[in-house]
Structures are given as C-alpha cells and as structure tokens.
Symmetry: C2
Subunit: 336 residues, 2 copies
Amino acid sequence: MAITMRDVAQAADVSIKTVSNVINDHPNIKAETRERVLLAIEKLGYQPNLSARGLRSGRTDVISLIIPDLKNAYFAELADAVMTAASKRGKVVIIEQSGGSRARELEILHGPRMRMVDGVLYSVLGLSQEDVGLIDIPTPMVLLGERIFNGPTDHVTMQNIEASQAATEHLLQRGRTKLLAFGAHRNEVIGSAGLRLEGYRRALKKAGLDYRDELAIDAQSWHRSDGAQAMRQVLESGLDFDGVVAFNDSIALGAMRVMQDAGLKIPEDVAIIGFDDIDETRYSLPTLSTIDPGRGEIAETAVAMLLERIDGAAEATPAREFEAGFKVISRESTAI
Amino acid sequence: MAITMRDVAQAADVSIKTVSNVINDHPNIKAETRERVLLAIEKLGYQPNLSARGLRSGRTDVISLIIPDLKNAYFAELADAVMTAASKRGKVVIIEQSGGSRARELEILHGPRMRMVDGVLYSVLGLSQEDVGLIDIPTPMVLLGERIFNGPTDHVTMQNIEASQAATEHLLQRGRTKLLAFGAHRNEVIGSAGLRLEGYRRALKKAGLDYRDELAIDAQSWHRSDGAQAMRQVLESGLDFDGVVAFNDSIALGAMRVMQDAGLKIPEDVAIIGFDDIDETRYSLPTLSTIDPGRGEIAETAVAMLLERIDGAAEATPAREFEAGFKVISRESTAI
DNA sequence: CCTGCAGATTACAACGTTGGAAAGAATGTA
DNA sequence: TACATTCTTTCCAACGTTGTAATCTGCAGG
C-alpha cells in the first residue's frame, strides 16, 4: 500500500539499509549514492513509518505533557510554550488533561500511553509531597509546579516565595497596608498557595507589619468564579482592606469584577495584583498588574532537561531543581 | 528490559498469541485461561508496546488536531472539547499549531507525522477554497471551520450565517439600528468573516434597513488587540453607532475595553454582542452577550465522523457536511 | 602482483505485536 | 466406540525499520 524503504531501495538500486543510512545521516556514504537515494525518496514521496522506527529504535520523538486543564489560560499558555520549545527540537507533544484529579494523574502516569512517548512533562496538581514515591516511573520525566519537591526527577518551577514577596512589596510601596492574601490555602505549606502565602508574610514582616489571619482569604481552586465567590463573601463580611495580592490572575479578575459591581474603584479604593501574566490581564478594565512567572524560560528549560535525560546526556547528573526568573509587571490596577 | 507479552505468556503458561487474544478480547477463550493471563499481566505490570502494535495493526489510536493557536481561547476550548470526545473513545490527541500559516499547514498535512496518526481533524485557516486539491491526503480527515467547503472530506462547521443573523436581530430587537459589523473582511465571501457579514446583511434587510458599507469595520486577525485597535479608529473617525455585532468574542472584548476608556457606557450607549461564547465572556465587565457556536457538538460530531472513516464504517458514504446548532446567549452587554 | 586497510555497501536478525490458518481438546451424535 | 462438530490454543509469518557484523570495493605501499 504505502511506500516503504523497500520501494525506495529498489528505485535507487541500493539495499534497504543504505536507504536507512542516508535518512539517518550515517557517515561513509558516497555522495553520488546519497543523491540517488534522495531523488528516489522525493520521486516516490516516501515517508518513514514512525511506528516501525519507534519499535526498532525505542524512540518515538513524542513527549507527553500532563496538565490539569487546557481551558485554564495559564495552562493553555504553558502548553503553547512547551509545544513551541519541543517543536524546535523536532518533537511533538501529546497533551493529557488530568483535571487535577489524583486518580486520573496516577492513571495517566502508569497507563500504557507512557510507553509510547520518550518522556513526560508532568505538571503536578492531584498528587502531593507524600506521593513522591508514586512518580518514580521508567519513562524519563521532568516535574513542573509546586506540589512536589525533591523528587527523583528534574524539577522546574518558578520563584514563588520571592515573586509573591515582590508582588506584596509592590503594593506596600504604593502605600497600601491592609492587604488580602487572596486565594490562600491555609493548611498548605508547599504548593503554589502555600509558597505564595509565605512570600506575602515575608514582605509584611520586612515592612514591620503583623500578619493577620483574617486577611488570608481562601479560594480552593483558582478559577475566575472562585475569585468572584470569595470576594463576594469578603465584601459581605465588611472586612476592611485596601489592596489585594491575588495568587493567580483568574481569581484576581473574578474578584475585580465583583468589587467593581459593588462600586469600588480600582486602583483608587483597592489596588490589586495577580500572578501569571496571562494574556487577558493586558486587556481587562483596568489592566491587571501581575507577576510574569517566566513561562517561556520554564518551558524551554523543562524541554531541554527532558531531552538530556532521554538522550542519556545527563545520565550521571542527579535530579536537578531549576527556578525560572520572574518579573513584576505594573499595570493600571496598581497605578496609584 | 521492559515486560513483553513473551514474559506474560511464560508466567501464565500459555502462548504469546493467547495473551494477545485475551488483551484484544477475542472470542473463544476459556474463562479460566483468561483469568490466568490477566493475573500474570497484573502481577508483572505488563504494558503493551504501542509502537509494535501500531506497526503490526496499522492503528495507533492517536489522532492529530491541527489548529492555528492554542493561546487563542476559542481554540483552547475547542481542543479541550476534542480531547474530551477523543478520550471517551480511547484515543489521544496530538495538537499541531499552524499559526494560521499556509506553508506551515501544508507542511503538517504532508509531513511524516501524518503517518503516525490514524486520522486528522484540521481546523483550516491558512489554506482556502482554491487549495481544495491540496487537502486530499491518504490519512482520514475531517475538516473544521469555514475556509473550505465541498472538499473531498467530511466537514463540520457552525451555522455562521444564521447565527450572525440572529445576533444582529438580537440587537435590532432591542431598538439599536446603527450597527457595526465588527471584524469584517470585505473581500471575503466564505470564511467566518464573509459568512458572518452575510448574516448581518440578511438581518438588516429583513428589518428593512439598508446595508451601509462604512459600518463594516475591518479587523484582520481576530485577536483582542485587533479589536481594540479597530475600535480606536472608529472612535477617532467620529462614526455614529449604537450597537456592535462583533465577529468573535476576543475583538468584542478588546473593543469594549476601548469604548469604556472613552467614556461610553455599555449597554446604555452601545450594545455589543460577540461570537464563540468563550469562558471569559461570563466574567468581563459587563458580561458579554454572544453566540454559543455548539462547540461540544462540533467536537463530538467531528471525532465521531473521523472514527467512522478510520474504521471504514462510512466507507461508502460520500463526504458529509454537518452544521452544529447555535444559541444566542443574552448577557449584560445587551441588557437594555 | 600481492597485502593491508579504510571506505562503502549489504545480509541478517531483531524489535513486540497481531492476522491467518493449523492443530489440539472437548463435546455431541449415531 | 467412532466420527463429526465446535471451541480453544498454538504456530508461523509478517509489519517496516535499524543495529551489528560481515562483505565488498578501490587504492596505497611494499
């Protein structure tokens, strides 16, 4: 049916192996022979069978990206960055959505699909630190995110504490002192919420302010609706505040919307800063100050590390931790 | 190294083929044997080698989704819908981003990666009707979008004209008569822009209003920034209007932002409706009325059609055209 | 003219799985 | 008991490619 190496070999009057050698750029091929083979490939429109290659060589040039949810702008942008980085290096990406569910993440990690890819980028959400033993799978892996540290694999993340501290200081510098830590998970120590809360506390402390627990506002999952919901409760409770450090952009946008509905002016009455620098923050009303988490750098580094593991180039290297640089992006929502 | 069927066969004391038969649910296997094999699989943690299976059977259970850009909310949501539909049927999805470039789309369509997937869902942007000959590839394919009609393959799309007409009527019913057709491409006949403009015209005509060319506002690519940019020009020009039919949500949101900056009240001064029902429209200020294009139905149908083609179930059936149903979603931006 | 050697090409096996057909076991019928 | 029939299992080959090792070619040096 389809054209195989056999057909090319026949057309170019060489052996199948020579065709393979030409395709794989092996040394010691006469220029004239190479020419002839390439011509035949061109003429017949030959395309290699990647399943066969995968079977024989153990490589598929496919990597898997496990993320909670593509509808979430942060992950959509991360996926884009990863695919771009992978594409540069000749790899394609299979995206697997976990929904952030523990069971689903384990299912994916231990499913047969893992055997079809050369490696995995795993953005952890469902598992947590005590599950560190469960992520030791035979497929090369690079971990993303803040849920598991010091695992058996390379790990790429952002400077959560430092960035959150910087975001908080950004508001403090503008004279705001009654700052909500918006999107906290109080029982969490690591994890994005835990680390960002820690950064918030450090900034307060450095400024000589007391941490007040009632200013830490819970919002379990970080969707826009959660931010809206949480802010509605805050306003009802009559809590007094003049600034919001939101732990991601989506809840910041949700909260902003609710505050505006309630007649609060941003940034005059309340200044607000988010986290992630999703595209939308540049177009909201007002535009949202935020933290650029270095998504491009994260994706590039993660893909590069993964490929080193796959190639065995980093064989001897122990598990690495990498933190991308961040930037405070100042926009209208804190332009006081 | 890894566990193969051979190991399982040995452990269960049966032949390799019996293991294969059990895995593939072949008829005529003694319950006791099946039990024994499954136990061995469990015990050894066997995972099938998908490359080998792909080579032998010609199936990989992977489908490819070609879209312009994952950062675009519409496509992120479409990708999510497609992956969910595919996952239900045991398939995974490789996403390929084309950037909407003609060259890149052709490269993907004719690249070797096409041979690794069972089928393709191709959301056309770079190619157009006169390229219809170029999309006749050996891999089963279902076309998405409005750029190419009556191609050699199945095609799933939305009711652009009808939906745009309904959106326009939605504003007309609310007493607005000076409506911008926002995001038009005047030279286009088919394509989303062309069809949506046609729907706009039909609604005007039906209401006994004249089509005025100066109200058709160009915005080439439909990103938020294009909407903002185009609206800035409209406002500068002093054009008089009281309603906007935006041809997608992103440009609607961009335009809304610019109008608000200029002191216009929405919906009091200008009512606006978008297209696509992306998540963000539920949280913008004001929330944006829009058209739900039936994304879920589109994804489900497209995947189902593709699988029928792959299975050969629709072998005899000629190329099909399917239009998903739409809904007008009325929100604050048109709540007059 | 033979030998040695590097460069170029090829033969062969193997990767792990499944399709097809043959062989073997179990059951029913005369 | 013998034989036909059905169910169950196995044997063999093949999918298209690449790694290993072997072969072959041409040429320099003695």
